[in-house]
Symmetry: C2
Subunit: 127 residues, 2 copies
């Protein structure tokens, strides 16, 4: 089954996809970067680097650490908004893609099922 | 400006994104893998590997070579269909994402502009 994935390209070096969104969701759920990293089976250092990269790309934090004795971390309003809008966009994109994904899935299962006439319109998309 | 990018995950090892679609489009336009590779500034070997990978993932060719004296290559009906549907899905996804992307762009330009109340709904998306 073909699956549609989305990414937000924030700048030339920063793409936010399902992996980074899952990390943000895990931090919101677990309340700390270390617990989120454990849950996603990545090192604390890797999680911290991903967060630092996102914070810098947005020019403001998506995740903030707590300085109290309990440590911990949480999403900022922007961080929560990025997660929420990413999941909404993902859902909308998958809804609008569903018929096309189904057609490609059918083509994989049934070689030769794509009508040749379908191909004639491809030049429409070229520069 | 944040940009929405899409990928089709065909199997665990195969994601078709804008790069592979551009390669298919270049082959359709140029009529050969080597000309397409030159246009995209990749090696022939790299282009051939990407195509071979896609052909195997779909279980049937998206690109076929011509055996005549002129050489050359073209897209199969399936290859053209993949390109066409990818670009349609991309366009539909970007349309449905536009307001969310604009809101995130505005948040980057105006730190602190995301209302805290917006964040309260984030748990809706968690497992």
């Amino acid at each position: 089954m073909i699956e549609l994935r989305i990414q937000l390209r924030v700048d030339a070096d920063t793409r936010i996809g399902p992996g980074k969104i899952s990390l943000l969701e895990a931090i919101a759920r677990a309340g700390s970067i270390s617990a989120a990293a454990r849950e996603l089976e990545m090192t604390y250092r890797r999680a911290w680097e991903l967060i630092d990269h996102m914070n810098k790309a947005f020019g403001q934090p998506l995740v903030v650490g707590h300085t109290g004795s309990a440590g911990g971390a949480s999403l900022t309003a922007l961080g929560s908004d990025v997660v929420r809008r990413f999941r909404l966009v993902e859902e909308l994109a998958r809804e609008s893609a569903a018929s096309h994904i189904a057609a490609l899935d059918a083509a994989i299962l049934t070689p030769g099922s794509v009508a040749a006439s379908d191909a004639d319109s491809q030049d429409d998309d070229l520069d």
